[in-house]
Structures are given as C-alpha cells and as structure tokens.
Symmetry: C2
Subunit: 227 residues, 2 copies
Amino acid sequence: MKKIYEGKTKDVFSLENGNVMLKFKDDCTGKDGVFDPGENSVGLTIEGIGKANLETSVHYFELLKDAGIKTHYVGADVENATMEVLPATVFGHGLEVICRLVATGSFIRRYGEYIEDGTVLDGGYVECTFKNDALGDPLVTGEGLAALGIMTPEMFESMKEQTLKITKIVADDLKSIGLDLWDIKFEFGYNNDEVILIDEIASGNMRVYKDGKIVEPVELTKLILNR
Amino acid sequence: MKKIYEGKTKDVFSLENGNVMLKFKDDCTGKDGVFDPGENSVGLTIEGIGKANLETSVHYFELLKDAGIKTHYVGADVENATMEVLPATVFGHGLEVICRLVATGSFIRRYGEYIEDGTVLDGGYVECTFKNDALGDPLVTGEGLAALGIMTPEMFESMKEQTLKITKIVADDLKSIGLDLWDIKFEFGYNNDEVILIDEIASGNMRVYKDGKIVEPVELTKLILNR
C-alpha cells in the first residue's frame, strides 16, 4: 500500500487490486479555529471527525447506490477510517462542483445585486470552480472547461445531471430529519469513460439549516448519524 | 427627443418613431490616459473618436445585415455621430458577452494554470460577465443567468450562437486587411421576443494583433476605415 497523495483532510493510498484507499483524517477546513466548509485551508483538528465524516459518506454513498447512481464508492472500514474507492482521474488540478438550492455565500457576493440572500433557486443551480486558493477558486463555465480541454460538453452535462439527482437525494434525506439543505459541494472524476462522483459526502461539504438557523458541521454530523 | 441614459461613451435618446438614438461621444474607457478596452471607467477623451467608432460600427453592422443577422442597427448619421437603433431591453444591469479566439487577459488571469497566454481557442469560446466595476465584472454562466431569472437557457444558446457567427464575420474582415482578432466584447438585448446584438462594434471592444504585436484602438480604427 503506497501513499500517492496527501490531502488537507484525507490521505490517498493505492491498493494492490487496482482500487484506491482514502484515509480520513481529523483535520478540517476553516479559519482561525472555526470550521468553515467554504475555506480552503486546514483551520482546526477535531478528534474523531475523520471517522464521523467517513460514516456520513458511507450513509450517502449507500443511498446513491440504492438509487442506481454509480459513484467511486466500493466499501469502507469505519474502525480504521478508510474507504475503498475506484481509481479516478480528477479534472484539471481539482474541480469543485457546487449545487445551490438556496442562494447564499459566494453566489451572493458575486450576484447580490440581482438576488437576495436566502432566495430559493428553483430546481437547483450547478456551478464549477477550480480549486485554487490564491485565486479564490475561480468560477469556470461548461464552455470554459471545454476550451481548456478539461471536459467535453457531454461530460459536463452528465456531471450537471448527476449533481442535481444526487443533491435531491441528500436534500430529501436531510428533510426527513427536519433539516434544509442550502448548498453542497462535490468532486467528480473520470473512470473508464464515465464521469462519477468521487471524494466524500460529509457535513463539511454542505450548508444546512434547521428552523432558519445554520447547523454547524459537527452538530450536523451528529444529527445525520444518530437519527 | 429625450435623453434616457447617459453612458460612459454614448448618450441614449428616445425617438418619436419608437426607436432609439445613440449619440457617440469622444470619451474612451481606459486608465491614466491610456486607452484600454478592458477598463470600465473613462480614462481619456480623443477628438473625433466618437464619429470614428460610429463609422466602424456602421461598417460591421452592414456586414452583419448582409449576412442575414438581425441586430438593433437601423441607420446612422455619421456627421452628427448618431445611430438609430431598435429599442431593446438590456439583460440585468448590463451583461457583456465576450468571444475569445485566442486566450489572453482575464481568461489567463483566471485559468493561467491550465493554458498559456496566446493559445488559440479552436472554434471560439464565449463567456458572459456582469458590468459591475466594484466586483471586477463577475463571470456568470448560462445556468447562472437562468437561476437569476435574467435569461432562459434557450436565449443563452441563441446569444452564444450569434456571438460565434458575428465574431467570425468580424475576424474574417480583419483577416482580409492582415489583422488577427484575439477577442471581442459584445452587448445583447431583448427586442420583441428576440435576443439581438445591440451597442457598437468598434475598435475599443476588441483586441487585435498584427504580426504578433497588439494594435492600439486608434490605429486599429484607421486600419479598418482607411483600407
């Protein structure tokens, strides 16, 4: 087992069967000791958060499997905080796919003159940003991804369609425990001619509200897992 | 004749026949006295540039008319620096549509880690930015324009298709006098259920190169008009 990548919140190892193993760490993105899914740097360490994020991911990847949506998920060893996944090539140097059900955050910072914070985006809105801390994660269009040779228009459409379906499944699950999903961040990869969901689906990747108040990720993880 | 809008480089009047009259001014966008099509504020005044921009616009709007592409252009009175156009509703508070044939400028500032300055973008790349000086003209996707209720996906596709056609006509014309078009900025509007090209097509809206060196707008205008 060889470490092939050391990430902010996960380390990545290659397995002998050709698959890949993700080791979930206890580091979280944030700033000044406050957990913030929108931040790009490690801001704090919370004991046990790696395992909790893995459990959350397993919960959602199993829901997606049940719904017939193929992802990179193969299986997990929660005790050791590891998840076995299909190998996949990331797009560019990392591309984030955001689905927004309610307008907030950077969407409002960009388009606040046209829409109020908290406005419902009917049917959901999908956008992509490149992971680039120095540039503040620049937005990129489907046309831009094609022009840069990163993804064909067909791959972009498939990714967009999957994102809307997956977001609906997560939102419906959260709704069933009284929570409102506002937005969620995914990562996709390329595996055997297919665009599939990769990485994790954890509380640190979503903005969730309960009775009009935001639910912090650590609390959200508890609500999702201890239902 | 009533003034309905005072712009950076043009004033807009309503005509009694229901059309609109644009009065081209001698003010140019730029910074510190240097003409820069990428800038949003008036940086200098050049005597006669209003008329020259109008003449350039007339040249290109006539070429588009010959090619069967409907625009807002009705006619012009070059002596008085005015152009009669169809009335049109702009999208949002002003939306710029950029067609890039060669990657440079803000495209490189955003995506420079993926592409080199000067790379040809095969078939052309179209992107939209909102006019918003304080935010540095934020990029917006077709999905974003739909989510903000500014334009349907069908209108976006029509605008994209027209932009590619119009850019090819301008690029071919420039090519015929030994010039290379790198990128060009348009504005579209909504008129009687149709998305049509509005505003102007002048040297200040394009980046043009000759033998690998950029041609400044004043010189470009001369090359286009005195052929």
